[in-house]
Symmetry: C2
Subunit: 353 residues, 2 copies
Amino acid sequence: MVAPRHQTRSVLVGTITVGNGSPIAVQSMTNTDARDPLATLAQITRLADAGCEIVRVAIPHSDALDGFERICAESPLPVVADIHFDHRLAIEATRRGAAKLRINPGNIGATDRVDAVIDAAGEAGIPIRIGVNAGSLAEEYHDNDWPLAQKLVASAAAFCAHFESRGFQDIVVSAKASSVNATIDAYRALAETLPYPLHIGVTEAGTSFAGTVKSSVGLGVLLADGIGDTLRVSLTADPAEEVRVGWEILAALDIRRRGPELVSCPTCGRCQVDLVPIAQEVERRLRELHTPVKVAVMGCVVNGPGEARDADIGVAAGNGVGLIFRKGEPVRKVPEAEIVSALMEEIAALGES
Amino acid sequence: MVAPRHQTRSVLVGTITVGNGSPIAVQSMTNTDARDPLATLAQITRLADAGCEIVRVAIPHSDALDGFERICAESPLPVVADIHFDHRLAIEATRRGAAKLRINPGNIGATDRVDAVIDAAGEAGIPIRIGVNAGSLAEEYHDNDWPLAQKLVASAAAFCAHFESRGFQDIVVSAKASSVNATIDAYRALAETLPYPLHIGVTEAGTSFAGTVKSSVGLGVLLADGIGDTLRVSLTADPAEEVRVGWEILAALDIRRRGPELVSCPTCGRCQVDLVPIAQEVERRLRELHTPVKVAVMGCVVNGPGEARDADIGVAAGNGVGLIFRKGEPVRKVPEAEIVSALMEEIAALGES
């Protein structure tokens, strides 16, 4: 059972509300060059198709600002400007259509520069994510012997206090580490101490395989605790993969679901059909559906009928055949080669009934 | 921070202690036919190479018993006999070398049959896993309106009480559901109420992609709570993949680690090298290492030097070049094409120093 969501303030990122119990928004970040707005917009469209709701774009240099402006104007998703080091880029981004800024105030430099960014966001009426990161903690934390999570939280809290002193509370906070445990500890402390919506993620989580596991464990623990108002899965992979993993984590905890759910068994010495390709093909075809149907693909009679009964549409395979269930009732028996098409027919019929 | 492990009794599965704070053992299950002991033993060897510590083999019919006996005799891992419906197979398995039985007493039938299995395991001195599963709950729970987790726990607790009444306490308990939330709720209740080691897993988790996410979320939440003494990841995929995911979950929470850790960034518009293939190639080569070295592959200067500093060996990429770090100190700069080989050289040198 997922714990009740932590209470937070809310901010508006374009048309998307983040915090105060709003649906947990799935984010990603483009890895194209913002100086090429067409390539970036094409990637944003792909991300939107995969279920991305907020997209972040890096502005490394001023020569990316014109591209960024066009991206904001034409993007189907709210665009967050990701800026490091140079406060002038952040100020300019607020004037070019950014729906939110993401900065790590610790690398922006002197206070008056940070203040200029805060004021520009205030004038534009857009929120700022204070994005603290274990890889770029401010100098003052490098040499003390606090646990990493404590450094991250202290750094984030100090920035929040400064923003508040400037009259700015349109804040989202993140404090990411590549250590899952440090990430969990940091966000648990942030949720206890700050009133702002939290952007959760495990940073530099790694390749598709290891990063999916680390993000699922880290974000899973936090979400089960009711922590997190928007999430990003970081993978060294196609960013659309980040979006798919993000949705799958939310679906695993029954928090949000974008499409069908597939239950399938791990196969064992009892399985008398070649189940792996059947399950994979069903998964592939279900990807095109956006209805929340539950499908069970089961290889034998031990748990098969039970799971199939609990699903909208299911199959329990026997010796070279599949018994198809609809809403728990067996409806027909088909040969192995026709299992996938029979399941898809039943799913389609379900949508029409 | 992972919570302290729940206190449990311990059982011995072959040479592996499960429970009472012992290392959380990684399990899998063969999907070969036990009537073909050579194919099954070949798969067990592959599983052992991947890090599997306990392996389960299904005995669907009596014609698999001879194969099972040979598998037990020659397996490099303790072998658990997985038996449903037919108590005679379970009794016979205790005499053919099983290191543990896994049954769901609810489908074994009359009490005297369950008792005969308990007594046979007692004579052989091997433990029994009481494996309750949402897909095969006893009839008596089908129609009441309890939450699924409560049914699973009540069923498991009733079986434990019966085993105890027979003087048998050499028990491992599992109560799996394909719902992650039901799984979490069930195991939290089991950990509170029963003194036995817990075998954790999300059943019928699905294909490699969805199943990895569901298992990582579900087992991650439980392990972070200090719950779980042995685990199995269930995937509709090659069982060696289950073992890799299991280890990755344990590594994500710093509970156990079998080999190197790779930290790598998600790439963004700031990245000036083609990082994804570099990270994938490093991950592939690291798989052959079983030393706990931490390697960082970072695409830019924002978080790159910070993460690279925190790793044993790291690279922070710039414009077509990589700056290699050893224990936080920059040691050399190499062209993009040489990043992988330079990292591997440094890792090898680390092992020698």
